[in-house]
Symmetry: C2
Subunit: 319 residues, 2 copies
């Protein structure tokens, strides 16, 4: 069996290795991704995002337990784009998930690509493809940060869950602008805390206000949970199921989503590949270093330097 | 006078227009940026970041008042990369700054570039150059979100201030991994709130733990403030001044920073330009649309499609 076949047959060691290679941007990984691509598209992908400290990891942990009890296999990707220096911080959280570590039906991995070209959106998308090809029924993508990367990532999943906690005050306000608008299901976790009703009302009125956004006919439900004592988790899974059925109910929604996914996938891939190719070239040839020295000495401005490099690398008018 | 000369002479309308064009990625803007580049490098740039709801806008507002009282001119850029849909949310905050709106010595602008290629890091860097060229003594870059974009942005400023509020609990924990490590000055705002001492202690021990990071000899101070009643603001400005003197005290630090800035600027510019150029081409030629249709129909996988497009656009081995 070649690597692609091993992955499709569910070989955990090959899967783990490919995801690591994706994260490290190892060249050979692309060929494997290409080979497994025809085997993707069967998993149902759930994104979970929201502000730090909302109990997302515990929630995911409980969801995994319930899905396993229902006989479903699960892949979990924990994505963190906010930590440029120490990669270790989120590992602590992951430890909580250890109770699933002996379960062959669960595969858990952290994604934390760094470097000036980020690329975490693309690596996460590829990792989703890998878990999909290996045959997982559900893939849960949990984001740690709350930046543009996380928004890009959850935009490409099937169902997006936004997790909030009561009494966030200004934070809800700040989040409103961005990620709240992409939620298919809202979860108020730690719902025994003071201010839970207010948070529910805030979200409720935000949903009412934005009703025109929900043009595909799905109005996001708001659920109150206490993940730590397993309260409300089954309700989340029920709503995921309802949303799934909603997405599958119309051929128009399905083809629209297929096109959107292709557009997102291709855009990210082109962006990633082109930047890496150009950077590898100008780094290896020493052109980057020589240009930087010229800029520092004031011999050239960065705009002119950039144009010179790009025009050397890019074919023009060949379309 | 051409546009570049108008900007260098401080013409507010030309500055506002150029920043808008940068945000909208209007082609002509690059030429103007190139022309004003030799006039940059005089302003002192301060970045302010931290979790939403920390009172950053109020803090900036007070800092502007004090800097103006000291006869300094100030530019303020408010950066928000977290809001992909509704651009309006942060405008409310900006309203607080209106008391400076009649003051010719203050220029305030929001940056909120969207679109799948983000580009907010590059637009913000260019906007800093514009405010620098127009002659502002201080430029304050305030970030609204807390993602990778914000980290990239504050990494390119002279002094980075991290604003926290007491009692953030898990949030401090979550932030620790990322932005805390890039702070030159820590500000605990709303310091009259419960838990302020604990937050100061948390940051203190984090700084002690990471002492090896501060290899340039600057150990970040921690200040307690109540921005809303102007408490502690002068102390922030004093620390900025000390940090500025520290950076200017050693030729080695100065040349290191100059090189880092050139590297960051050039990398972002190349990345931005190359992606836009390629995308404009494949969008206009219809190649992107045709490829997407093929992917949706299952005639081609996105990896192969990406390679085909990139190899058509990129010159290979010409270095």
């Amino acid at each position: 069996m070649n690597i692609a076949e091993k992955i499709i047959s569910g070989n955990i060691r090959s899967v783990a290795r490919l995801i690591r290679e994706i994260d490290d941007n190892v060249p050979g990984a692309r060929e494997v991704l290409r080979d497994i691509y025809p085997s993707t598209g069967k998993a149902y992908v759930v994104g979970i995002t929201g502000s730090p400290g909302g109990g997302k990891s515990t929630l995911v942990d409980q969801m995994v337990t319930h899905l396993r009890a229902a006989g479903k296999t699960v892949g979990v990707l924990a994505v963190d784009s906010t930590s440029p220096f120490s990669g270790g911080a989120i590992l602590g959280d992951r430890v909580r998930m250890q109770r699933h570590s002996m379960d062959e039906g669960v595969f858990i991995r952290s994604m934390a690509t760094r470097g000036s070209f980020g690329g975490i959106t693309q690596s996460t998308r590829s990792a989703i493809d890998v878990l999909d090809a290996m045959g997982k029924d559900y893939i849960i993508v949990e984001t740690v940060g709350v930046g543009q990367d996380e928004i890009d990532i959850v935009q490409s999943v099937d169902t997006t869950i936004i997790v909030l906690v009561p009494g966030m005050g200004d934070n809800v306000q700040a989040l409103k602008a961005g990620i709240l608008e992409i939620g298919n299901i809202f979860v108020i976790n730690k719902a025994d805390r003071e201010g839970a009703d207010k948070t529910v009302n805030d979200i409720q009125s935000m949903i009412e206000m934005n009703e025109k956004r929900y043009k595909d006919g799905w109005k996001p439900p708001i659920l109150s949970t206490q993940a730590i004592s397993d309260k409300g988790i089954i309700e989340i899974l029920d709503e995921i199921d309802k949303h799934r059925k909603h997405l599958q109910s119309s051929a128009q929604i399905q083809s629209m989503r297929k096109y959107e996914k292709a557009r997102n996938d291709l855009s990210e891939m082109i962006k990633d590949k082109i930047i890496h190719d150009v950077y590898d070239e100008i780094t290896e040839s020493g052109e980057l270093e020589a240009t930087l020295q010229s800029i520092v000495k004031g011999e050239i401005d960065p705009y002119t330097a950039c144009d010179t490099i790009v025009s050397k690398k890019l074919k023009k008018g060949t379309t």
